[in-house]
């Protein structure tokens, strides 16, 4: 699955769905996201494959274009009650994620009641990190400071950083 194009400093939401290969009669709803804006939830559809809600959480590993692992994250249920088998992890594209095509591999293992492995599955997705980004990310709070020696724009970013920039001009 292609997840889209992002710049450094943006967030990618990685999603995964836990299923078993055992066909069952149960159907589960799962969310549908906007193709252009992947964070926009459009509604729900039902899935005709049995979803598995127990066991360990899926883990997603992200590889750069040289296939070096650049991130690994455990996923968690996005909607624990409504869609218990849909998992997600948010990945911030910082300076450790280079430009180019990245591949995410989501894996999980299902166990039975006595600890035996039912199945182990994986899902591969890709997304592209574009040029033109900045590892600081987006501003989420700002303040203007006017001091005798200089003027500053102070900022908090969604990369979890604070900074200040001197003498803004247009």
């Amino acid at each position: 699955m292609y997840l889209g194009r992002y710049r450094q400093g943006e967030w990618v939401v990685l999603r995964g769905q836990k299923i078993t290969p055992v066909s069952g009669s149960a159907t589960y709803p799962y969310p549908q996201y906007d193709a252009v804006d992947p964070n926009r939830l459009l509604g729900a559809k039902t899935h005709d494959t049995t979803q598995f809600t127990g066991g360990t959480n899926p883990v997603v590993q992200v590889y750069d274009k040289e296939f070096n692992k650049v991130a690994e994250k455990e996923m968690w249920p996005e909607f624990p009650v409504k869609y218990p088998a849909i998992f997600k992890a948010s990945l911030f594209l910082g300076s450790d994620i280079p430009e180019g095509i990245c591949t995410s591999i989501t894996t999980y293992t299902n166990y039975n009641r006595i600890g035996g492995v039912i199945n182990s599955q994986g899902m591969v997705c890709s997304f592209e990190v574009l040029p033109g980004g900045h590892a600081s990310g987006s501003y989420i709070a700002m303040h203007y400071l006017d001091l005798p020696h200089a003027k500053f724009v102070l900022g908090q970013h969604d990369s979890d950083s604070l900074d200040f920039r001197k003498n803004p001009k247009v």
Binding site: G4, R5, R7, Q8, G9, W11, D34, V36, D37, N39, R40, G54, G55, T56, N57, E74, M75, W76, P77, P80, F87, A89, S90, Y111, N112, I114, G115, L130, P131, G132, G133, H134, S136, G137, S138, Y139, I140, A141, M142, H143, Y144, L145, D146, L147, H149, A150, K151, F152, V153, L154, G155, Q156, H157, D158, D160, L162, R165, P168, K169, V170
Partner: protein, 778 residues
């Protein structure tokens, strides 16, 4: 995403940043980076003891330790030391004193217990000549040598002493001659550059004095020979009226509050952080062997975070775990920020789960508290001085604070209260109900003089401190939830208001039908007019700045971009760069090429609009600009064809008139037209007019094709509804006839709306007048 914090500035030029999950940060315009605000308090008391020394210290003493930072800001005092009684420890009777004439004399006193170096005072001798203070030299069990001077190697004249024979009657008393402080805490926080040990004077336990000052920060034991008269800086503990002056008024700012404002000489902090990011894994070891998570062991006290970013500041807060079998609250004992695990005080008792939702917040007792700094001391917070608001179930959550005049308004989701105080909010502060409207968050209000403009979930309103006036009755559809353009409140943490005083306009940046904050409900408080703006990228922060001598709103966007409002005719271009406009030579899904243009790299980050031809109306963000190519962030939905016109930095705008009724004309031909007066632009840009009959959502098409020259500045195309206006026409006036020849009984349109849509180029579009001929005068 991290918690959205608030900045607040104090009169001394310091800026503080509160976010609720870590120490409050400070920056002063000179520091290389933000630092933690305040000074940490020593956690343990010093131990004091009497030792031999060179001083004359007699009395009852206590000691405190405190830390100072590089600016001399002080911490709270440590716990108090033990009680120390100095002097009178050993005493005895001088049975004999011999060889008085020498630099030394020998005193016989059975089992005296003195040690070399001790200082004694002899009193009671029948002759005053034997009385005085002496230092002990060599000792035996029953005798000790005394030096007839306090400092043995100084010059002295033994003749000042008597040569008389000792006649008995004298007693000696050891003088407490130095104080030793041990167990002195070594600070681990980099803010601390100085330690001070404070000591009282004998007989006064309200005022302490600096006895030891240390900048080395390594020793744990100090010895002081300062007599009371030699003590340093005075540190009073309590004022006459009982006000704490130094004991606990210098606590660090509260790290669990995420909203702070400066009001007169104090900072006020409110709104606890409710942290819910990610999920938690929990284990109940009492359930027995866990078949679903076989590798994990008994760890009922450990909660594991998934996708979390917990900080050590969260220790001591409440953890609510929404376990499958019910929600339960626990207290966090400690946080391992590296491993993202919490240790809770009592074992987890719910159902074992690999991922459940949770929240971390300050204890319930802090839910409605208002903390405030000491006057003029923004880094000193007396934690016992707190205002606790009354819980009102109709108010919703506490969301922010708004200073206006002498009052501080406390903003809830659906209510506003005000705090008025004279000198001490905890003593003379009065909280009262102000209005039945609230605010979305701390960032959704703007204050302009004595009027504030706020947005709550019911709309936008003006507030003068006493009365509210609703401003959004005309655009209520945004707030009802039934309109296609209704506001999505799910991401309201990032909503914010931006004020541009020069144009008297306020924008509330919100999400409409999308999770991204890239729409602005814009309001001009001069004309009371509303309009909607859409931005190609989210605008998630703003502030008011002085730029080039004017007050202007500046905005923060993605990838570290800072934008200034109301500047130039195009959008998002860097300083001094000219916008490019041209015809597409070729296009791929994410690349647009123009063989006749050379694009500069600085275009990256700016929008590019397709304004004419195939693919018209699409706006994308440029991520790479190089040579003849522009690479865009998202693929085109409709691929532009060769000849389609693009505009870099194009600012697309649209205006639609209200419904205009046509005047009745009877059986005559209806003479109708629409004319436009505008300011001619120096370069080509796009301006299109369209006509919508009655309630039609599609523009009325035109039945003929005409060039701009033929149409006196208006070009049309058969089958299209667009009347394309030549904005470079020096006349600044165009007109389009739309006569009607229908008879009175024919089914025909009764009203019309006109729409103008433009994309700027080098100049702003200035439309002075839309003249509709044939309209009903009423």
């Amino acid at each position: 995403m991290p918690p959205v914090g608030t900045f607040t500035e104090t009169n001394d030029g310091n800026v503080f940043h509160f976010r609720g999950d870590q120490s409050v940060k400070r920056w002063d315009g000179f520091l290389g980076d933000y630092v933690d605000a305040g000074v940490p308090v020593p956690g343990s008391a010093v131990t004091s003891a009497s030792v031999g020394g060179d001083s004359y210290i007699v009395g009852i003493y206590y000691a405190y330790l405190r830390f100072l930072d590089s600016r001399g800001k002080v911490s709270n005092l440590s716990p108090v030391s033990n009680k120390l009684i100095m002097g009178g420890v050993r005493y005895g009777v001088c049975t004999s004193i011999e060889e008085w004439a020498e630099p030394t004399a020998y005193v016989t006193s059975a089992s005296h217990g003195l040690t070399t170096g001790a200082l004694i005072r002899i009193t009671g001798g029948r002759s005053d000549h034997f009385n005085g203070e002496f230092r002990v030299g060599a000792t035996t069990q029953n005798t000790f040598e005394i030096w007839l001077q306090l400092t043995p190697y100084d010059e002295f004249d033994i003749d000042i002493r008597t040569r008389q024979r000792y006649q008995g009657g004298a007693t000696w008393l050891e003088i407490g001659n130095a104080i030793q402080y041990s167990d002195v805490e070594v600070p681990t926080d980099s803010r601390v550059v100085t330690r001070q040990i404070l000591r009282n004077k004998d007989g006064n336990v309200n005022t302490f004095y600096v006895d030891i000052e240390d900048t080395d920060l390594t020793a744990t034991t100090f010895t002081s020979t300062n007599a009371d008269i030699n003590l340093g800086e005075e540190v009073p503990l309590l004022a006459n009226d009982g006000t704490d002056l130094n004991i606990s008024r210098h606590s660090e700012p509260p790290d669990f509050k995420r909203v702070a404002v400066h009001h007169y000489s104090r900072i006020f902090a409110a709104k606890n952080l409710d942290y819910r990011e990610g999920s938690v894994g929990v284990i109940n070891s009492a359930e027995g062997p866990n078949s679903e998570v076989p590798s994990q062991t008994d760890q009922s006290l450990i909660v594991t975070g998934i996708g979390t970013k917990w900080t050590s500041a969260m220790a001591g807060r409440s953890l609510l775990i929404n376990a499958p079998d019910g929600a339960t609250k626990y207290t966090i004992a400690s946080v391992d920020a590296d491993e993202q695990t919490l240790q809770i005080e009592t074992p987890y008792s719910g159902e074992t789960s690999s991922a459940v939702s949770y929240s971390i917040s300050a204890p319930d007792s802090e839910k409605l508290t208002l903390h405030f700094s000491e006057p003029g001391l923004p880094e000193s917070w007396a934690r016992d001085k707190v205002l606790t608001l009354t819980d009102d179930p109709h108010s919703g959550d506490l969301v922010g604070l708004m200073p206006m005049g002498p009052r501080l308004f406390i903003l809830f989701e659906h209510r506003t209260q005000s705090l008025a105080y004279a000198s001490a909010p905890d003593l003379d502060g009065q909280v009262s109900f102000s209005s039945a409207r609230g605010c979305v968050n701390q960032r959704c209000w703007i204050r302009d003089g004595s009027t504030a403009y706020l947005m709550d979930q019911r709309g936008v309103y003006a507030f003068n401190g006493n009365q509210t006036k609703d401003l959004t009755s005309q655009i209520q559809g945004f707030f009802t939830g039934n309109d296609e353009f209704s506001i999505s409140w799910g991401n309201s943490d990032l909503f914010h208001a931006s004020h541009d005083p020069s144009t008297r306009s306020i924008r509330w940046f919100v999400s409409l039908g999308s999770s991204k904050v890239r729409f602005a409900l814009a309001f001009n408080y001069g004309t009371q007019g509303w309009w909607l703006e859409e931005y190609s990228e989210p605008i998630t922060a703003s502030t008011l700045a002085h730029v080039d001598g004017f007050q202007k709103a500046i905005w923060g966007g993605p990838v570290h971009r800072v934008l200034k409002s109301e500047t130039g005719a195009v959008d998002g271009l860097p300083t001094g760069k000219t916008a490019a406009r041209g015809s597409v030579s070729s296009a791929r899904s994410t690349v647009l090429s123009d063989n006749n243009a050379v694009f500069i790299p600085e275009y990256a980050g700016s929008p590019v609009c397709i304004i004419e031809g195939r693919g018209k109306g699409q706006v994308r963000t440029i991520v790479r600009s190089d040579g003849h190519e522009l690479e865009i962030d998202r693929p085109f939905s409709i691929l532009p064809a060769a000849g389609s016109v693009y505009q870099v930095g194009g600012f697309k705008w649209k205006y639609k008139t209200p419904v205009i009724r046509w005047a009745p004309v009877g059986s005559k031909k209806a003479i109708r037209s629409v004319s436009l007066r505008f300011s001619p632009s120096s370069a080509e840009s796009t301006l299109v007019a369209r006509r919508y009959e009655d309630f039609s959502s599609t523009a009325s098409t035109l039945s003929y094709t005409r060039t701009s020259e033929e149409g006196d500045g208006v070009s049309t195309e058969e089958g299209s509804g667009d009347m394309v206006i030549d904005t470079t026409d020096s006349l600044g006036f165009v007109s389009q006839a739309i006569d009607s020849t229908s008879s009175p009984r024919t089914r025909r349109g009764r009203s019309v709306r006109f729409e103008l849509e433009g994309t700027t180029s080098t100049d702003r579009h200035k439309i002075y007048e839309i003249i509709v001929e044939g309209a009903n005068q009423q």
